[in-house]
Symmetry: C3
Subunit: 669 residues, 3 copies
C-alpha cells in the first residue's frame, strides 16, 4: 500500500533532499507526489526543458525506497507565458484579464494555453517514462478554474451549443426563450451569463444572476466540459507515451463546479484532497460523505492525494490537529475505500501564499509530533495492507448524487440556504448514526443493486429516470424522496405537471402548493407511529395531499391541517417514502431511517454510540469492520466477540473500548 | 369594474388559450394585461412585425368577455438590438456594457434605443387601434432602469444642466463648488457621480458616494427625467394614434428612484404592483401607505396592475398566501382607492428567471385554491361595483411626500438607517391605528384642504414652502414636523440658519445643536401631559431649545436637561408640533396623534382593534367603510349599527365579527 | 503656544472674514490652517495664479493677531487637470481611471501630476514667503492615496525593485518564487498585486489577495515610498524658498498605509488629526496610544492639526461632544506631547461632502457652546504655556512600533481578527491603567534607554534586531514578547527555525506547534503566582515548551497540558517574559504589567482610578502631572500633596476631585 506525502524538492536546498528521503524512509513512507507547481523549474524559457534537478531528486528518493507520482504542472503557469501570450489569462467580467501571480487563472479555450499544456506534458512524459520509481501521473491540480469571459470562450460556448442542439430553434425551445423576449435569432447572440453583481471572481461560476436558468445550466455543463477536455488532451499524451503508469487527478470531494463523473472517465482511479480539521472539533460526517462520493465516481476505491497534516489556511490559518487526530482522519478515509494515503505536505513552505498550510514537518524541518503520528499510521497501514487487499465498501443503500441537480439547485435553490448537499446530509448523517454504509450513485445507475435508494432534493429528473425509480419500487425496492422532487426537466424548465409529476402514483401523493419560509417562521410537525414525536419544520414545506399514501406526520398549523409532512406508500412490491418538509431535529430522520432500513431488510454493521463511526470493507471472502472515534471521550462499542482486532492483535470481547480519537479494525470474516 | 390577471399567451401552446379564456370567464375576470415582454414575438427582425398571434389571442379572449390592456414591450429588448447596435445597452462604471439577457438594461440616451422604442410603439398602436376588446395601454414595465455611464449620458447630463442653470458660474454657486477645489471652468468637466465602490450595478443610482451631494441630487433628478422623457415619447404616439384608449403605467408604490409625480403627468391614471406577502405574516401598513402614495400621485384612484397571487421570488421564493390572504390583500387596496384589480400572473411560467413568481395557476395550469379565491373576490367586486362607482378616499389629514427630500436623505441620511419612509411610517402607522385616512401630498399642494399636515423628516424645504407651512398654521392649521426639518435648500446646500430656519417662529423652538446616536446609545424620554409616559430616544436627537413652545417631553439625560424632546406651539390660529427625537415606542406616537387629531378636530372612522384596518371611500352621497382583518384571529369591531354589510347583505349590530383575514364593507351612507 | 482652527475663507463671503477674525481673537486663537483644498481658487487655469483673495484674508487675520499655516493644495486637484491630462487620475484594477470629484485620487507616478504639484508649491512659496503672519507650511493633506494600477506605476515599481535588488535572481531568492512557479525571468514580468476580489477601491492597498506575501510587502513599501517621494518634491521647494518657515504634515495617528518614520524625515515636526468622539462615550486609550506613536515618529512633541469640534461624518454623522468633552480631548493630547492645538473646523461648511463634519461654529456661524468651550481651553493653554515650555513625555517603558510588522500582519494576520494594533492595545491599556507613560519606538532604536521594552505580535524581526533584544535583556533589560514572535524575515519569508528563533534562549522557550482558534473555541488559562487567577484564551495559542523559563500560566486543556501560556525567564542580568496566548481578561495583563514594572523598577506617576488617565511632561527641571477624567462621574484621585494645581491655582491635598470630563495639571516639580 502506498503511503507518503506531497513533496516539493524545488523549495529546499539540494543538501536537504537526502535528509528528507531518509526521514521518509524511517516513517515507512513509500510514495511522494511531485512537481505540480514546478513548471518554471522544468521549462524556464519556452521550449527549453530542464529536468535534471528532478531526476536527481527522484534518484535520491528511489535510493530510500520512495516511489513517485509526477504531475503535469499546468495549474500555475510561468510568468513568461502571459508575458508572451496575454490571451492565456482568463478574462474577468469587467473585460480585464486576471493578473498573473495566483493559480488556476488560465483561459481554457486559449489555443496557446492548450498548446503549452500539451508541450510540457509531452516533454515530461518523454523524459520520465523510464524513471524506475515513477508509478503514475496526476493531471494538473484541483481542476475547477475561473470562468473566462473572452470572445473565444463565448464563441466556443456557442459552438458547443450548436453541436448539442443543432438549430437555434431547438435552443429556443429547450431554454424557453419565449420568456422576457429572449428568443435568439442567430447563434452569435448567445452570451456567457454574467454574475449580476459583476464583481470579479477568480473561481467558479456564480449564478446569483438574473440570466435564464436554462442558459445558466448549459453554461455550467460547458464550463465542466472545458476542464474535462483540457485534462483529456493531457491524458491522451500520457497514455501514448507512458502506458505502464497510472493516471489520476486530485479531486475535491464535494466540490461541485465540475461533473466528476465525466472528469474521472479518463482516469485509472480518482484521488482526493481532504481537509476536515476546521473550527472546533466536531463530527466530520461530511468527510465520510465526500469519501463515498469519491468512491462512487468510478465505483472503485480511491486515493487520498492531500490529507490534513497541520493547521491550514491562507492569510489566517486554523486549528492544529490534536494528538490522535491526524491518524483518525486517515483511518476514516481508509474505512471508506482509500487505497493510497498522501499527506499534504511534507514540510511547511517558508515562501509564498501557502506559508500557513502546515505540513507534517514545520518550517523548521524537524521530525516532531505530527511526523511521528503520520509515521505510526504509515506503519500500521503496511501491517494492514494484506488484509485490505481486494476489499472495498459494499453498500445496500444508495443515495442519488447527480451534478445536474446540484447545479440546477445552485442556480435556483428555491428556498434560502437550500443546496443538494444540505439536503443529502440530513439522510446521510442518520445512516452513519445507524451504522450503515452508503453508495453515492448516478441517476443512470441500476437501482436494483440496492435495497434502499434515497433521493434527497432530487430536483432535475428526466422522465426516464422517474420511470426507473417507479419501476424500482414496483419491483420491490424502497425509495425515499423529499422536497422539490422532479420540479425540472433536463434543460432546467419546470415541468407543467402537478408535483411530484411522474412519481405521484409511486409515492401516493400530490403537491398542489408549497411554500418557502423565512427565518422567522416555523411550523410544528406531529410525527406518528414510526416517527412518533414533535418536530419543527423550517425553511420549506410542501402542501402534500395524500393520494393513497399513509400519513407519517402532519402539521399542527391551521392552514396545513389537511396536508402531510411525511408519507409512506406501498407501490407494487416496494415502498416509497416522501418527506415534504425540512425538519430541524435529527431524531426525526433517525426514526425514519430506522423504519426504512427495516422495510428494506438492511441491517447495520453494529450500533455505534454517538460520535463513533463504523464502516466495513469486504471482498475476497474477507470483511473488516472499522471503528473510528471522532470524539475526545473514551467510547465503548458493542462488537462481534471472538474476532481479531488487527491493530492490537487482540481478540474481541462483547465490547471494545476506543480511546479519544481511537480506531479499531476488526476482522469479522 | 375591471378584475383580471397578467397573461402571457406567448408562453403557452395555442390550444391552451381557449382553456385559459374559459377559466377566466368562469372566474368573472374581464381584463388581462398582455405583451409587456413580447417584443421578439412582435418584431422578430428589425422592422418586420408579426402581430397575428396576438390578434388571435385577443380574439379568443374577446369571445369570453375579457378585455385587454396592451403594453409597449420596451422593458426587455430582443437580442438582435444589441447585436446590431451595441450602444443600446447601458454602460457600467467599469466601462463595460451590461450583458444582454436580463431586463431594464438599456441606455436611455441612446438615439437608437429611442428610435426602436418609437417604432415598435407606433407599429403596435397602428395595428391594434381597432381591436374591439382593447381598452388601454401600459407603457413599458416598472420604469427605473440602470444608471448608464456612457459618454452620451454624460454629455446629455451636461446639456440638461446647461438648460437648467444657464452658466457654469451658476452651477458653481448652486452646488457650492468652493468646497474641495470643485469649481468647474467648462461644462465638459462635469462627471456622472460614480458609486465609490464602483461595483457594477444593474439598477438605480447609489449614492454611497463621496461626490458632491448637490451634484448627486441633480443627477438623480436627471435620471428621473430620462425615464419620464422616454415614456413621453411613447405616450405622444399612443395619444395620436389611439385617442380612445387610456394610457397607464405600473408603478412600484414606495419605490423612489423616479419622481412619480412627473412620470404620471402623461398618464390617465396610475397603476401599481403590490407584493406584500413576504416573511412571516405581519401587519402590512406599508401597503396602505404605498396605496395612499399611489392615489396621491395624480390625486385620483388607481389600478393594481400586479397583485400577489402566490409565492414569489427569483432564485429562491417566499411564503404562500394563506387561505383568505389573497382576498384581503385585494380588499386592502380596494379600500384605499383601487379601481382595477389585476393579479400577477395568470399561470406560473415554466421557463426563464420568473419560474418562481407563482401565479393564480401553478405550473400545472389547474384551477386550484388560489384561482378559486381570486374568482370569489372577482365576483364580490362585481357585486360591489355599483356602490364603489364615484367614490374615493377623502382625507382630512395629509402627509407631505416629496421625492426631493427622499433623494436628499438617500444621499445623506444624516444618521444611520434614516430614510424618509422610516420616518413617515412612525406617523402613518399611528394614524392607521387611530382609524383615520391620510392623503400623501406634494409640498406644492394647497395645505388648507387639510385639518392636519404632517411633515416627517422634511429635510429639503424651499423658502416658499416654509412660508406656506407657516401661513397654514397661522390660518388655523395643525402641523407636525420632526427631526432634520429644513436643513437643505433646493440644490442640496445646507441653510446657514439656526434650525429649523424659517419655521422657528411657527414651531416656537431653536435647534442650535443635534447629534446622531450609535446603536449602543439611547436616552430616556419623559413624556408629560398628552404624551405622559417613559420612552426611549434612539438614533438621533435634536437639542431643542423651546422659544415659546410648550414642552411635551424632556430627556432624562444630564447633558440634555435643558432641551425638549417634543413641543407644541400656538401660532396665529393654529398649532405646530415638533418631535426632535426618534422614539422607539409606538405608544408615544399614538398619544401624540390622538392629541393632534383632537386639536385639529378630526374624528376617526371608528376605533379598530390592533391589526384591523379601517378605511372609507366616499362620493356621490355614498360612504363605504372597509374593514380588513390582517390577523389570523377572529376580531370584533365596534361599528355603526343598523347599516348594511354589503358582502353578507346583513344589517350591522353594535359590533361585527371578522374571521381570520376577514373583510367587511359597511355602507354607512 | 499656538491654538486655533482650520479655516476656509474661500467658503464664505468676504464680509464675513472680519467677523470670523474678531471671534477668533476673542477666543484667544492665534493660528489658523488655510488653503489645503483651495487649488482651484489659487490656480483657476493652468499657470494662471490668483493669490489676492488669500492675501486679503491673511491680512485680516494678521490684524486680529492670528498667524497662519498654509498648505500645498495637492490633495484635491482642479477639474481642469484631468480634463487636460487624464493620466493624473489613479487607475483602478478594472482599468478605468477614478472619476474626478472626490479627493486623494491622483496617480503618484504621473509626471504631469508631479509637475503640477511642484508648480503650485513654487508659486505659493514665492508669493507668500514674506507674508508677516505666515509661520509654516503643511504639505498636502492626510497622505495615503489610492493604489494606481497604471502601466507607469507598474514600470516604476519594477525600477524600484531593480534599485533595491539589483538582479532578478536576487528578487527570486528574496521572495521565494520557487513557490507556485513564480520565478521571474525578466523585470517586466513583475505585476502590481491585485486585490483578489478586484472590486474598485479608492484608498489604500488591500491584501486580501492570494499574491505572494513577499511581493505584497515590497509593494506596500513602494506605495509608502511614492507618498514620501511626492512630499519630498514639495519640501525641497519650500525649504529653498521659505527657509524661515516650519514644514509639517497632518498625519493620522494609527493609520498605517504609510511608513510615518520615513514620511516625517522631511518635516520639522509632525502634526496629526484626532477624531475620538464616536459611538457611546468610552475610554479613549486609542487616542493616547496614537499620540505616543505621533510623538515617537520624530521623538519630539507634535501638533494637533485637526481636533474634533463637533459631530462628524459623511453621509451620516455621529455623536455631539458633550459639555466638557472638547476640552478634555484637547488636554489628553497636551498631556502626551501636543505643542499646538488646531480644531477642525472653524465653521461647518454648507456645501459639499463635508457638510456634516461639524466645526466649532455651526452652519449658522454663531459663537455658541462649542466655540465657548474651545475659547476657554485656548485661554487656559496660554496660561499654562510658560510651564509647558521645554517639557515632553519621558518614559521608562517602550513599545516597539514597526510598520514592517504592521504590514506583514495585514498581509497575513495568521489568525482571524489579528492585527498589530489589537495586540499592542492589550499591553498599552494595562500600562495606562497602571499610571505609566510609554514611548513608541522603532526596532532600530537604542533599547538601553528603557527599563522595559514590550514587543507585542513582533512578527517581522531581522536577525540583528533579535540580537539587539537578546543583548538588551542580557544587559539587564526587561522584555515582553507575545504570539507570532519572529516568524518572518525582512522579505516576508518564514524563518526555517523553531520559534521564536534567535530569541529562544533569551525567553527560555521553544514553540514547535501553535494553532489559531475559531470563534467557537476557547481554552481555560490557569495563572499562578504573579498572574494568579482563571482566564480565557481565545483566537490563538502557542504550544510553548519551557526550556528553562518559569511557567506563569498553564492551560486546563488535555492536549495542552505540557505547554505554558505565559513564561518568565532570567537571561544574563535581565528578564524576558512571553505570553503565548490571546487572553480575554484585562486583569491578566494588569497583573503581568505590575510584575514587569516591579522587575524593571519602574514606578507609576500615581495610581489612577478606572477611567482617569495620568501622564507627565517634564523637562528643564519641571514636571507637570496631567489628570484627565474620561468618565461622566466625579473621580477622586490620590495625588502628591502640597503642589500647585495650575488651572485652579490651588494647592493640592492628599486627593483631588475631578468633575465629569474634568482635568487637572499639577506641578509636582
Amino acid at each position: 500500500m502506498y503511503v507518503g506525502a506531497d513533496y516539493y524538492p524545488e523549495h529546499w536546498p539540494r543538501e536537504r533532499w537526502e535528509v528528507d528521503a531518509k526521514l521518509m524512509q524511517e516513517a515507512e513512507f513509500n510514495v511522494v507526489r511531485l512537481a505540480e507547481f514546478a513548471w518554471i523549474d522544468m521549462e524556464p524559457m519556452e521550449g527549453q526543458y530542464e529536468f535534471g534537478w528532478l531526476d536527481d531528486a527522484l534518484a535520491i528518493l528511489d535510493k530510500h525506497g520512495v516511489s513517485a507520482i509526477l504531475c503535469t504542472p499546468t495549474a500555475t503557469m510561468p510568468a513568461w507565458a502571459p508575458r508572451k501570450y496575454p490571451e492565456v489569462m482568463a478574462m474577468q467580467p469587467d473585460g480585464e484579464r486576471i493578473t498573473w501571480g495566483v493559480r488556476k487563472n488560465n483561459c481554457f479555450t486559449s489555443g496557446t494555453y492548450r498548446l503549452l499544456s500539451e508541450r510540457i506534458t509531452r516533454a515530461m512524459a518523454e523524459h520520465f517514462v523510464d524513471t524506475p520509481n515513477l508509478i503514475g501521473w496526476q493531471t494538473d491540480n484541483e481542476f475547477g478554474g475561473p470562468v473566462c469571459f473572452c470572445d473565444t470562450c463565448r464563441a466556443d460556448f456557442q459552438d458547443w451549443l450548436r453541436a448539442k442542439y443543432g438549430t437555434i430553434d431547438e435552443v429556443n425551445r429547450a431554454w424557453g426563450t419565449h420568456f422576457w423576449s429572449h428568443k435568439y435569432t442567430t447563434w452569435g447572440e448567445i452570451e456567457i451569463p454574467h454574475p449580476s453583481g459583476r464583481a470579479g471572481r477568480l473561481a467558479g461560476p456564480d449564478y446569483l444572476s438574473t440570466h435564464n436558468p436554462s442558459l445558466c445550466l448549459d453554461f455550467q455543463r460547458y464550463h465542466s466540459h472545458l476542464n474535462v477536455r483540457f485534462q483529456r488532451d493531457q491524458v491522451r499524451i500520457l497514455r501514448a507515451l507512458c502506458p505502464k503508469h497510472f493516471v489520476t487527478h486530485n479531486l475535491m470531494g464535494s466540490y461541485s463546479d465540475l461533473n466528476y463523473y465525466d472528469l474521472a472517465e479518463d482516469l485509472d482511479h480518482v484521488s482526493w484532497d481532504n481537509y476536515p480539521v476546521w473550527g472546533a472539533p466536531s463530527i466530520p460526517y461530511q468527510s465520510s460523505a465526500a469519501a463515498d462520493v469519491m468512491r462512487g465516481v468510478k465505483r472503485k476505491n480511491f486515493w487520498i492525494m492531500e490529507q490534513t497534516a497541520g493547521p491550514g489556511g491562507w492569510s489566517a490559518f486554523g486549528r492544529n490537529p490534536r494528538p490522535g487526530e491526524i491518524r483518525k482522519v486517515a483511518y476514516q478515509q481508509l474505512a471508506h475505500g482509500a487505497d493510497g494515503q498522501v499527506w499534504f505536505r511534507w514540510r511547511t513552505c517558508t515562501a509564498g501564499r501557502e506559508q500557513y498550510w502546515h505540513g507534517l514537518l514545520g518550517h523548521d524541518g524537524k521530525p516532531l509530533r505530527r511526523y511521528q503520528e503520520a509515521a505510526q499510521t504509515a506503519k500500521e497501514y503496511h501491517k494492514l495492507a494484506p488484509e485490505l487487499e481486494g476489499t472495498t465498501v459494499e453498500a445496500k443503500v444508495a443515495i442519488i448524487y447527480d451534478y445536474e441537480t446540484i447545479w440546477a439547485l445552485r442556480i435556483q435553490p428555491g428556498f434560502e440556504g437550500n443546496s443538494y448537499h444540505s439536503a443529502m446530509m440530513r439522510y446521510y448523517s442518520a445512516l452513519v448514526r445507524a451504522g450503515v454504509n452508503v453508495d453515492m450513485i448516478k441517476p443512470t445507475e441500476d437501482f436494483s443493486q440496492y435495497r434502499l435508494v434515497i433521493a434527497p432534493d432530487f430536483y432535475l429528473v428526466p422522465d426516464e429516470v422517474a420511470q426507473k425509480l417507479s419501476d424500482y419500487v414496483k419491483g420491490g425496492g424502497v425509495l425515499l424522496a423529499d422536497c422539490r422532487l422532479a420540479v425540472k426537466d433536463e434543460t432546467n424548465l419546470c415541468y407543467d405537471r402537478t408535483l411530484p409529476g411522474l412519481l405521484s402514483d409511486t409515492l401516493g401523493i400530490a403537491i398542489e402548493e408549497y411554500e418557502a419560509m423565512d427565518d422567522d417562521m416555523e411550523y410544528r410537525v406531529v410525527g406518528k407511529d414510526v416517527v412518533a414525536g414533535d418536530y419543527t419544520a423550517v425553511k420549506y414545506v410542501d402542501w402534500t395531499t395524500p393520494k393513497g399514501a399513509d400519513v407519517l406526520a402532519t402539521f399542527d398549523q391551521w392552514h396545513l391541517e389537511s396536508f402531510a409532512a411525511a408519507t409512506r406508500n406501498r407501490s407494487g412490491k416496494g415502498t416509497a417514502y416522501y418527506v415534504g418538509a425540512v425538519v430541524s431535529e435529527p431524531a426525526f430522520y433517525d426514526q425514519l431511517i430506522a423504519d426504512m432500513l427495516k422495510t428494506a431488510g438492511v441491517s447495520a454493521h453494529l450500533a455505534p454510540p454517538e460520535g463513533v463511526e463504523v464502516s466495513a470493507r469486504e471482498g475476497g471472502g474477507k470483511k473488516l469492520l472499522f471503528l473510528v472515534n471522532h470524539t475526545e471521550e473514551k467510547q465503548q462499542v458493542a462488537v462481534p466477540s471472538g474476532k481479531q482486532e488487527l491493530l492490537s492483535g487482540e481478540t474481541t470481547g462483547d465490547t471494545i473500548t476506543l480511546d479519544k480519537y481511537g480506531v479499531a479494525v476488526i476482522k469479522v470474516q
